[in-house]
Symmetry: C2
Subunit: 336 residues, 2 copies
DNA sequence: TTGTAGGCGTTATCAT
DNA sequence: ATGATAACGCCTACAA
């Protein structure tokens, strides 16, 4: 029913054997130029197309990688996937997408399904609710290489591609300091994710390096959404002294913060400067464009793909590469 | 090297044959309850996992669908893919993602690669530069069902999931009329895509139905980006009489229009009302939230997946289903 | 240079 | 109820 024609069909037409056809098609040197040409011509004429499935079964390589992200429709993740796809497609790899939906159980199921599909590699950004990491070991046991991007698990035998979140936090904060802010608050995210811890660490280090205090209550932990940003600002502005700048570890929280500040009659950036994180598309489009940290997600995806390709080239040893991407501060009006 | 344990391994341990193991694992009735339990227990103990590749080769079904979109990192498309994935994953299907990058040749290559991978179905939103449609026929010849979403090709034997773009254009325009606009301009998109033609048709019909004229120059064709929106407004505002409202077939063009209007000192919505299209995330976040048409992309993805599932259930006939999704006007400040 | 044969892991069709 | 065997499409020793 499907892509009917096989190497056997070609062989029959040419009165040769399937093995010979295979050799011709695979540029195997052990074949005469004459028959190769005949085979190639016939294959073309019959519209032969190789069945990758059979090849995969035979070779143990499926030429497919699995990508697991919390949600595919977040700009950050879809940009990463774009990077992965564009890097891997020319090399003959397919990209299978799965969503963990920030759920450990779904993540585990994704892994098993992908393992069953005989993927050649797994690229994953860990769900934030994942506490148990056995399924990662399980993948490694099957000799399937893992490449983490952005959110990683500390374990042996894996590679990672991450942003230098410490540096990002540091630079964002330093930028505020340099522009005159003296009392800088920080909206942090879910501490289950170390990216938020590192961003905060960068923030704190910048304060220390510039002899600026971080009064009690200046660091607010919350979700990375608009509502959390508003809530945080309500708290922060009751403080005495109140902050004159906010570094948010998320653009959405930064947006909420801005909305709340405006509602309170505070001007941005005059009264309070704001810096967000992720360079979400909307930050650029606002009437008041928001300063933010660009994570180069497409590049992250491309790097992850490159590390994978390097890994499959040398299947003997498990690579343990750690690629760290430099953050890029996008300075806009909200902080000037 | 890979998922070593096969049904043969289980068979050996149990001194039975692989066929029996297979039967036990597949709930085949021709087997005793006793052996079934033994097999299941052993399979569990040995952490057996079915090799989908072998199954796929044997059965001719890969349990994989290919999805081809212009770019994965556009909110509209990634939301659709999310819908597809969430609908198909529970049914045991994998989703392979490809990007055509609005390029006919890449689209063709994507198709061939997916065909080689023995996909069970193809879901595609056509590249806007595709003029030749042979590769679609080619897919159909291989008995692989095609489901178009959003951008379709008119051909036999395929199913489609689209937005009612005419209705969307009609409602958006009517909304402006009802709110007092008398001179409504339209920013259209690339006419190679029929979605833009239909949006415009809806716009024109609404004008006719309400006895409103469409003066020359009131319809501006351009790209669907910020720059095009600005450019169009510069032209439009030179017209006499100048428009008091703009219905843009794209949110980005609408944004550009708004930026340009402001630059010209015109107030929105007082002087000019604006309606966009797609419900891009940023439209909601602006200080001046933009009225726009929501296309329910996640639902579109889910519907496409459902049509596919229906198709594979009945492999005898090629379904020719046409699902039309109702647009939802999101009324915000830019048009009130 | 080409053919033969076996195997990748599974299921389905015969027998038994 | 279970076993033996062939087949899915391809590749690759090994033999000729």
């Amino acid at each position: 029913m499907r892509g009917k024609i096989t190497i056997y069909d070609i062989a029959k037409k040419l009165n040769i054997t399937a093995a010979t056809v295979s050799r011709a098609l695979n540029n195997n040197p052990k074949i005469s130029e004459a028959t190769r040409k005949k085979v190639l011509a016939m294959a073309n004429e019959m519209h032969y197309e190789q069945n990758k499935l059979a090849l995969a079964l035979k070779s143990g390589k499926s030429n497919t990688v699995g990508v697991v992200v919390p949600f595919i429709d977040r700009n950050f993740f879809s940009s990463i996937i774009r990077g992965i796809e564009e890097e891997l497609y020319p090399k003959g790899y397919h990209v299978i997408i799965c969503q963990s939906q920030e759920d450990e159980k779904k993540e585990l199921k994704n892994f098993n399904a992908l393992l069953n599909a005989q993927i050649d590699g797994l690229m994953v950004s860990v769900s934030k609710n994942t506490k148990n990491f056995d399924h990662f070991d399980h993948v490694l046991q099957k000799k399937v290489p893992i490449i983490f991007f952005d959110r990683k698990v500390d374990m042996k035998g894996v590679s990672t591609v991450t942003l230098d979140d410490f540096q990002a936090g540091y630079e964002a904060t330093k930028h505020l300091i340099v522009n005159g802010s003296k009392r800088i608050a920080h909206l942090s995210g879910d501490w289950a994710l170390d990216i938020y811890q590192r961003r905060m660490a960068g923030y704190k280090q910048a304060l220390v390096d510039h002899n600026i205090k971080c009064p009690k209550g200046y660091v607010v932990k919350g979700q990375s959404d608009i509502h959390a940003g508003k809530k945080a600002v309500k708290k922060l502005m009751k403080l005495n002294p109140r902050p004159d700048a906010i570094f948010s570890a998320s653009d959405f929280a930064a947006l909420g913060a801005i909305q709340q500040l405006k509602e309170m009659g505070l001007r941005i950036p005059e009264d309070v400067k704001v810096v967000g994180f992720s360079n979400e598309p909307f930050t650029k489009f606002m009437e008041l464009p928001i300063t933010t940290v660009d994570q180069s997600p497409m590049k992250m995806g491309k790097m992850a793909a490159e590390v994978f390709l390097e890994q499959v080239k040398n299947t003997k040893v498990l690579l343990e590469k750690s690629v760290v991407i430099e953050p890029k501060l996008k300075i806009r009006k909200s902080s000037l």
